[in-house]
Amino acid sequence: MTVAVEESPVKKSYKWVGTRPVRHDGLEKVNGKARFAADMTKPRMIHGHVLRSPLAHAKILSVDTTEAESMPGVKAVVTAADFPPPSKNEGFPHRSSNLIAREKVRYEGQVVAAVAATTRRQAKAAAAKIAVKYEELPHVLTVDEAMADGAPLLHENLITKGLDTTPKQASNIAKRDYFEQGDLEAGFAEADVVYEHEFTTKVVHQGYIEPHACVADTSKDGRSEIWCSSQGHFMVRSATAEMLGWETSQLKVIPAEIGGGFGGKTTIYLEPLAVKLSQKANRPVKIVMRREDVFKATGPTPGTKIRVKIGARKDGTLTAGKAWLAYESGAFPGSWGMLGGWCVFAPYDIPNVQIESFEVVVNKPVNIAYRAPSAPMAAFATETVIDQIAREIKMDPIELRLLNAVEEGDYNHSSMVGTFQRIGLKETLEAIRDHPNYKIPLGPNQGRGVATGFWFNIAQSSSATVNLTENGRAVVVTGSPDIGGSRVSMALMAAEELGIDVKFIQPVVGDTEAVGFTDVTEGSRTTFATGMAVVRACRELVTQLRERAAIMWDCSVEDVEWVDGKAHHSGNKESPLSLAEITAKAKKTGGPLNATGSLEAKGQGPAFSTQICDLEVDPETGKATILRYTTAQDAGTAIHPSYVEGQMQGGVAQGIGWALNEEYIHDKKGVMQNPGFLDYRIPVASDLPMIETVIVEVPNPKHPYGVRGVGEVGIVPPIPAIANAIHDATGLRLRDLPMSPVRVLEGLNQQNGVG
């Protein structure tokens, strides 16, 4: 279902935008022809294996590779000594330190060395012969442990940033962020209802199906070609060059198809190792992670502890909000607590606010983005307390949200953006309020929960090149890996601009030497920003097409208009010329037609999603079964509605897994106990109902087609929507994730005075 709230800023209707053609890469994806990084083979290729730390925290006393180097088939071994020391201003903080351990290992699974050998088995056997002497250190796994007085330190020189007074002692608290607005005390004093609760969430993984993989082929001239799966091959190029101490011109990165990323492939893990092994061995080297490696050594999303206090008057007006948020960041500092602080009260116009957030290092893998990073945990706390207030004052939870929802012109000090531009939060709330699923009667043990979510989205740099062929077709080359249907979205916008059938447009993801610099596919930015680059290139091409028509007609270019894919003479003195008729004469009018578009995009629109979950709790087992799930999201304009719906459904599916099942489980030594999909349970099709979607279209005035980002915000509301539904079904308020059958049953037993 699509709800168009306003006309688009550009045209009243489109011929191609908003249609649902089969994606250009669809057939290859379903018949197995699409080439992922692990499918790549090269002549003389050998295989790499990575040696990882078995300990959560230890000093490295020595690394002896002598025996490993003499093992059968071994062609190269690398350790930290093969890489330059980390630079202070590397593009992604601490990425070099995370690439390969130096003086210390700070989590189980951190890289210590790597081996390349003729076969994978030989490489693995040789890695086992690398002698590493460790001095084990005490570790910390949670924010409570890490923030405690006298806690073991991960970094002896980590001084907390953002405190009023710079501390003299190191700690595990990397950063504190603080916002305040209004008079908090007065705000709570005028409230009739005040609730304050503490929430915890566990570390969860993005769970992409394709493990990280790459092939590197380093030549004797000092250049290397890399085939890999990532969300941004230009990022792979710059980060790999930085970690090797190379020039970016020495590296060419060719993007393979990507089997899921969700933020987890916005950094690198293997590529510098493969390049260095290839250089030493003078052979192409392939490294493919096992699922265990993916869990133990690639970035999950942080575990958190969050306290939220909200006050409201009896009429539903929110008067004050206070939040204290502590986010794990894994073994090196990140910015997750700050992001959580930006999002925790963003949907609401609350006059008196105080937000304090912390970034805490722990002995776990370094956290990396996961769909709207940090927002779902913050929303779990806020949206649960909002639900509690709605029940207390006997107000419909959507009406309560509508009463306090931010809209254009509202100033929200804590949300980071300050004053909101045109946004669609209220429209998503109204879409859910008016949806038939909000009125379906519920049966015994069934409950309904509502929640809303915010994410700010990102713009950044994108490039596109559009080449017209001699027979009037177009090849659209961009630098954005396609992780959610972006190829067809680019083709649709190009079809709209050029006025030709979308099936005559071939969208291509170009390598780092085939197209201009493009930032990572992250932050729901590709259809927005890379789409703008494509539109720019197409508009330049239309100018060229008009000039060529003018040459063919021997008239002024001002006399040529471009309408529906054809050049028209303004005086109707000539018959219209189609794009194909003009490109067919290109050699006689000046040569091939092509154009580029590049920009540092600005003006992305914040995204909002409101969702309702109906579920049933089995009182004997504690298992919550999702009966119905409905999500309404402001897409701005849906370029290809099927892929917008896919993003909305994907976010909800992952949020359901996060809410009900997923968690990293560690033993007392800090060793992960469930690094596989049998024990780390993500939702499968049989766990989920059809997730019903309502695309709300409040066009973003800063995009030529009104696009906002759609890839992330869908994961923000599911956790509180499910928690609120469980409460509706059982009366239980669960504030710790996951809400697994065991936890629900514990709660029910306590409620019933059992056990």
């Binding site: 009023d164 990323g261 980071m416 953006v417 713009a459 950044q460 932050g523 800063k702």
Partner: protein, 81 residues
């Protein structure tokens, strides 16, 4: 004048003051004026800092013009999934 909001990591330069008014017409002149008034603040900015100008987020600011009466917020580097 431009209203500038500084995050807690920058408030140590302003003795805890979060909102300051600065006479500037561009991002470049804004940072120069802030650094003149609060020495060291320019160097303390994250090399990849972002800005929100009147609610519009700019991931890589540098030379943007800022109109009188604008609201400018300094942000840490942006990340998404």
């Amino acid at each position: 004048m431009v209203n500038v909001f500084l995050g807690s990591n920058l408030q140590r330069f302003t003795h805890g003051v979060e909102e300051v008014e600065v006479n500037a017409s561009s991002v470049k002149s804004l940072i120069a004026e802030l650094d003149r008034r609060y020495p060291g603040i320019a160097d303390a900015l994250d090399p990849k800092f972002a800005l929100a100008i009147n609610g519009e987020v700019i991931a890589n600011p540098g030379y943007e013009k800022i109109s009188d009466g604008s609201e400018v917020r300094f942000l840490a580097p942006m990340q998404g999934g």
